[in-house]
């Protein structure tokens, strides 16, 4: 066969491969776009089904292996905690009785008690800096939008999307998450929010207020979305206000967001 025929065959082969690649590329791009444009309800159902068959088995394995591995260490810590909490509980029960007596004397309504639902983290958002997680409970388990989420360390965030068997939890790191907060030392109030770093900010604290590094910040219960008294973090640094009327206050979160495993949802609050 003459050489130029080899050349023609090679060229044809090259252009066919190139065309095939481009066709594949455009087909996949269209598929991604169609997926993106689907209604959220459909995307939620689709995600739930696919997660069950892909991540599901490995997540269960991870939870079980992690539980087995951690059981001795956690048992020791929990025993110590049970002892100290029993002592604290006795003291608190005494104080609660006294508080109830005083509330009755003053004619206040009694504070409602909350019910907690344990949940497990299924997967973490793919963004470089995670601001949401997916948990294994959904509508069928009684989860509702805006339910506050905590773990043993403190406030984690709130439920932002509820699917049938799973839900998305918006962490305190999410740019749209704001928590009314209070300094436990002097009851100075502010708003906790993230500005895209590993630490949080306590905003709206006027310059004349006395907030020091080391102060502990808790949820204030204002807005009724988050209950009062959930630990958010500790003041790390306080910067002078400069020209602003508010101080710049940096908080170290109480929760280690990179190691979220078991979390709890709080029921009985203002939820959609």
């Amino acid at each position: 066969m003459p050489f130029f025929l080899f050349d023609i065959i090679d060229r044809a082969k090259g252009s066919f491969i190139k065309e095939k690649s481009s066709a594949t590329f455009f087909l996949l791009l269209s598929l991604s776009l169609i997926l993106f444009l689907f209604p959220v309800s459909f995307k939620n159902s689709l995600s739930e089904v696919v997660i069950r068959f892909t991540y599901g088995p490995f997540n269960s394995l991870a939870v079980h292996v992690g539980q087995l591995y951690d059981v001795h260490r956690k048992n020791k810590i929990l025993n110590e905690k049970v002892t100290s909490l029993t002592l604290e509980n006795t003291k608190l029960q005494e104080e609660s009785r006294e508080n109830q007596r005083l509330r009755q004397l003053l004619g206040f309504k009694s504070a409602s008690s909350y019910q907690i639902i344990p949940a497990e983290v299924v997967s973490v958002e793919p963004e470089r800096f995670s601001t949401s997680i997916l948990i294994n409970l959904g509508e069928k388990d009684g989860v509702k939008k805006n339910m506050p989420v905590i773990n043993l360390e403190g406030l984690v965030g709130k439920v932002s999307e509820v699917l049938t068997g799973s839900s998305v939890v918006q962490l305190l790191y999410h740019p749209n998450c704001r928590v009314p907060a209070v300094d436990s030392r002097n009851r100075v109030q502010g708003i906790v929010k993230s500005k895209g770093g590993i630490n949080l900010n306590l905003d709206n604290v006027p310059t004349e207020e006395d907030v020091k590094s080391g102060d502990e910040i808790y949820s204030s219960g204002m807005g009724k979305l988050f209950p009062e008294g959930l630990k958010i973090g500790q003041v790390l640094r306080v910067y002078p206000a400069g020209d602003s009327v508010f101080k710049t206050i940096i908080l170290k979160p109480a929760v280690d967001f990179s190691r979220l495993e078991e979390i709890f949802l709080i029921k009985n609050l203002k939820q959609d």
């Binding site: 690649s21 996949l28 993106f36 490995f58 500005k195």
Partner: protein, 167 residues
């Protein structure tokens, strides 16, 4: 036929590795929220070794799997990673990639581009200062971390190859 079968099997295996990594190990290798982006590392490997079509297919599948964690933006990661897989794959024959440093640079810049596109499409100009802060604090360091791990894997693979040739 056998070659394409083995290629498909290889891709399924790599997808499985990504799922296992995301479920079991991603948290263990995260340092101060700086993540090792193994899916992107594999995407660059597939693109550079098999070309644009394979890069785009792997990018779509991995992007889709990662999107499952935030269902409201399902399709966005798949779209971005399909583009990146195709782009990296098109470097296969057009870029001098014998040098390990250039491979490291491709990994680093792929990650940066992935994050820039993700922030742009998911946040737009809303929360711009937040996106910039996350990009500067996490994306750059994650890119560096992943590129360094990629270079280490390459170096170990080359050492092993050199040893086999000597024997």
């Amino acid at each position: 036929m056998n070659l394409s079968l083995s290629k498909t099997a290889g891709m399924i295996l790599l997808i499985l590795i990504v799922v296992i990594y995301q479920s079991l190990f991603a948290g263990l290798v995260t340092i101060h929220q700086i993540r090792l982006d193994l899916p992107m590392l594999i995407l660059v490997y597939i693109g550079l070794s098999r070309g644009p079509a394979s890069g785009a297919i792997f990018g779509f599948l991995v992007g889709f799997l990662l999107d499952l964690a935030s269902p409201s933006s399902l399709g966005l990661g798949a779209f971005i990673k399909t583009c990146l897989g195709y782009l990296v794959g098109s470097f296969k024959d057009n870029l001098y990639l014998e040098n390990n440093l250039s491979k490291g640079a491709v990994i680093f810049f792929s990650l940066i581009l992935n994050d820039l596109l993700y922030y742009f499409f998911s946040n737009g100009i809303k929360n711009l200062s937040y996106s910039v802060s996350v990009f500067l604090n996490y994306s750059l360091l994650s890119g560096l971390y992943t590129a360094l791990v990629g270079l280490l894997i390459l170096w170990l693979a080359q050492m092993r190859k050199a040893k086999e040739i000597t024997i």
